[in-house]
Amino acid sequence: MTFTNILQLYVFILAGFVGYNIITRVPPLLHTPLMSATNAISAISIVGALVIAGAKYSLTASILGCIAVTCATINVVGGFIITDRMLRMFKSGDAPKAGEGK
């Protein structure tokens, strides 16, 4: 266990706390967009894939890296687009019917 490992553990635990606290406050209304959003965000593994695909370790590694970049890109592109598509649909009823009140 190096010092870096310990720091990584700190980051993981603290990010977990932040995540827990934020996500418990997301209303059930937005749980599907939440899931597609976290899915898009976790496609950040693309940064690992990019290095593997471009580092010229070996041909096998490059091909595996290329497939990994493909998979992660699918989630980055598709994930953010579909999240946006969903969120665009959520409209407040008060905007067009101003003054009506709830």
């Binding site: 997301v26 209304l29 749980h31 597609s36 976790s42 970049v69 980055v76 598509r85 959520f90």
Partner: protein, 477 residues
């Protein structure tokens, strides 16, 4: 910052130039992490959510650009190929998939995410192998283990939701014992690898077994329980991404993975609670393998059916209507007609609210998305806890294609398989109109005494057809 750029530009400053590049990369990761957290935070409110997620997308772009300049990257053809193919596949998956297919869309994207994490782990192992220290090997092994089982597990969930695999639980005697021993063996291999990182056979055996676990984990779980499974796999995909971060020393991966892991974990707990099941029960229970016999039968009870005309009169003159949509409504593609009906009632001075049970759709929040797509304003949609107190003031509760989530047996009948499940208090409304295709029992195969209640009228027929008739009738009032 200008100084750093100068150093980068000067050919003599090799060492310092490297530092500047690393600094830029790290800055992009830090920015991405902040944007991701802000993006998720924006999801706590519907009106800030869209902009927040667009910022998160910018964060992702920054991180990608920041990675492309790291010095380990010496060739770009594989990267370019991956980016192009990924975009070509990802774009239609983002723009074309209908909202009803969202659960399987999410399931398959968990597969892609986990596959990316697993492949990074495998490639890293091929590259380093015996040179790995125990801690890094532990992280790498965890990454490949959870990644691989999420790959096959998500694919199975996708198949069940897309219905090319049987939705019913597939079970065989001693299944749990087999599953547990396979899992134990896999964990054993993982521990062995931490002690002996050079044991390539153990690495491949562990990977293979992890793929198997994913299949055997999801196979015995019924279609109705898929929301929990998809949420759980969301969590696993996140943990695999986080482990990747540990293995390759990348903080933004650790953070994003932890966020994803926490989210999936919370959602699966919420879904389990809403279905009145424990985690263990969902994973090992094989619920519904044999439709459970109901404690009460419908013998001797009669239902009261109602015509569209009479239902329209009730709805048209009601001052408060609560609509309870179920998956049957989404199957019939009747959301738009529901909204049309609601607008007519509102025009006549009535108030319309939508009561949404956590398991109303096929995944958490699915029903809200389907309604939002039909232009139902989000501030008319209420969660179970928000609206349950209001049913007693409602003149009409209009139940469309929902069954188990409004079954009073969950509160009253200890012998019922759904006893204890939180339900919508539809039975407290002054009158109830249930739209249903026929008197078939619900997904769980349980008789629903709400349908025999004296206050309940049944409007039989296809949800969309009945609603269209209702709309026409209310218009003539």
């Amino acid at each position: 910052m200008a100084g750093l750029w100068l150093l980068l530009a000067s050919p003599a400053a090799g060492e310092a130039g490297t530092t500047a590049r690393t600094l830029l990369t790290q800055a992009s990761y830090l920015a991405a992490s902040v944007f991701f957290i802000l993006g998720l935070k924006s999801l706590t409110k519907a009106d800030t959510a869209r902009r927040g997620m667009q910022q998160a997308a910018v964060g992702m772009l920054l991180a990608i650009v920041g990675t492309l300049i790291v010095e380990q990257i010496v060739e770009y053809q594989w990267i370019l190929a991956g980016l192009v193919i990924g975009t070509v596949i990802g774009y239609p998956l983002g723009t074309r998939v209908p909202m009803t297919a969202m659960p399987q869309r999410i399931a398959i994207s968990h597969m892609f995410g986990a596959l990316a994490a697993s492949l990074v782990g495998i490639a890293e192992y091929l590259h380093q192998g015996a040179r790995l220290d125990g801690v890094t090997m532990g992280a790498l092994g965890f990454e490949v283990l959870f990644g691989s089982l999420t790959v096959t597990g998500s694919f199975m969930a996708f198949g069940k939701l897309q219905e090319f695999l049987p939705g019913r639980p597939v079970t065989f005697p001693g299944q749990n014992a087999v599953n547990i021993s396979v899992f134990a063996a896999t964990l054993g291999l993982w521990i062995y690898l931490i002690i002996e990182p050079g044991a390539a056979w153990a690495f491949w055996a562990m990977t293979g077994l992890a793929f198997l676990i994913g299949i055997s984990l999801v196979l015995p779980i019924g279609g109705a329980d898929m929301p929990v499974v998809v949420s759980l796999l969301n969590s696993y995909a996140g943990l695999a991404a986080s482990a990747t971060g540990f293995a390759i020393g990348n903080t933004v991966l650790i953070i994003a993975g932890a966020l994803d892991g926490a989210s999936g974990f919370i959602l699966s707990i919420i879904m389990s609670k809403a279905m009145n099941r424990s985690f263990g029960n969902v994973i090992f229970g094989a619920f519904g393998s044999a439709p459970t016999a109901s404690a009460k039968t419908a013998a001797g009870l009669t239902v009261k059916s109602i015509s569209a005309e009479d239902a329209a009169i009730q709805l048209g003159y009601a001052s408060k209507v609560i609509v309870v949509p179920g998956y049957g409504m989404a199957v019939a593609q009747a959301q738009h007609t529901v909204r049309e009906l609601a607008e007519l009632i509102e025009k006549k001075g009535g108030e319309v609210k939508y009561a949404i049970h956590p398991v109303a759709g096929r995944m958490p929040g699915h029903m809200n998305v389907l309604l939002a797509e039909a232009n139902v304003p989000y501030d008319r949609m209420y969660d179970m806890d928000e609206i349950n107190e209001e049913f007693k003031d409602a003149d009409v509760a209009l139940v469309i294609g929902a069954n188990d989530v409004v079954n009073p047996a969950a509160k009253t009948d200890k012998g019922s398989p759904i006893y204890g499940m939180p339900i919508l208090n539809v039975d407290q409304a002054k009158s109830i109109i249930v739209m249903k295709r026929s008197m078939n029992a619900g997904f769980a195969g349980i008789e629903n005494e709400l349908f025999y209640d004296a206050k309940t009228s049944m409007l039989f027929g296809d949800a969309k057809g009945s609603l269209t008739k209702l709309v026409a009738e209310v218009k003539t009032l």
